[in-house]
Symmetry: C2
Subunit: 194 residues, 2 copies
DNA sequence: GTCTATAGATAGATAGAC
DNA sequence: GTCTATCTATCTATAGAC
């Protein structure tokens, strides 16, 4: 586990980059082999079948998404800044390709549902934290709502392109936060300090 | 345009069925040819390249989704019934495969964005109508919010499976409608008539 | 562990007869 | 319009040498 040059990790990184840039459909053995600098048969030495590779890549992808969630939108700043940060993160096409890849895998094979659930759980925790940082005391339903909305905005952003996607995300998220704040009985100051 | 046996339509129907059941990745010329009962080369007579076929299928798919939106959730009934109808529609994996296919196409080739936009526009009109039927006077932002949420719930449903997907959709939609009703200043009676 | 070579399957596309 | 046949490219997987 320690002495090896960790070719396995190199392969996984190359494979992950391919999925992030071109989606799950582009994940083929020849491409990954070339990108990681090993022969194709060597790749199958580490990942005997394509399914093994896909599984390992998506596992790594989920772990990566979860780990990177923290840095994406560091907590303090204004509410408006947090909202913009979230909108920007949701407009990241590469992250969305990972998300969609997992959805495709889970749709084609229910064995991947558990993996998707892992991601959902982490995302919801993140969503809850964000709402709390904004001074709210969200219910479980509201956390699920924000998470589902984020999923939709991310997918839309992939189809609309970053500019339009970001605009839609910002508008929609602002409206949700307004509704949540109003429900909580706490007026959100319209931030007219500029 | 009139005298032909409309093999073209037969081919498109078969191709659409494949996308609905197995996703865009399963849309291959041999499969479509077999399913529609024509030879593969005959298929290419109507659709010279695979790109032509994909384009035609997605165009037809969007037209179909838009046309079927009306029947999916006919307006009157209780608010709770409308909500359940929407949740059920969002949990239809086949519809979601169409949606995801268009997103994948638009992500890979911006030329498909216009097609996606057509779908979004129709869905938003439907969303607005539903909110109005529920007695609300939604703003454009609120319509966008409901649409984006529906997109996210549909995608989640594809990954989670119909049972879980439907449960999540119902819970989340109920919460959004509650927030919207509260914002509008009109209490929604909890429907305790049963 | 790492490679070359290749088998076997499937996909996209074209040629050409009818 | 419709077909058979085929070419080429690409992919998954395996065999076997080093």
């Amino acid at each position: 586990m320690t002495g090896t040059t960790d070719i396995r990790a190199t392969i996984l990184a190359a494979a992950l980059a391919i999925v992030r840039k071109q989606g799950l459909g582009a994940l083929t053995q020849p491409r990954v082999a070339k990108a990681s600098g090993v022969s194709q048969s060597h790749l199958t030495y580490y990942f005997p079948t394509r399914a093994d590779l896909v599984r390992a890549v998506l596992e790594a992808a989920v772990a990566g998404q979860i780990a990177n969630l923290g840095s994406a939108m560091a907590s303090r700043d204004s509410q408006e800044a947090r909202l913009a940060g979230l909108a920007a993160a949701l407009s990241n096409a590469e992250n969305t390709r990972i998300l969609v890849s997992i959805v495709l895998a889970a749709d084609a094979d229910p064995a991947y549902r558990e993996l998707y659930n892992r991601l959902v759980t982490a995302m919801r925790q993140r969503a809850e934290l964000m709402l709390r940082t904004g001074g709210l005391e969200p219910t479980a339903e509201q956390v699920m709502l924000l998470h589902a909305l984020g999923t939709g905005l991310a997918v839309m952003g992939a189809a609309l392109g970053p500019q339009t996607g970001r605009a839609v995300s910002t508008t929609v998220l602002r409206e949700l936060f307004r509704l949540l704040a109003r429900d909580a009985g706490q007026r959100t100051p319209p931030d007219e300090t500029t």
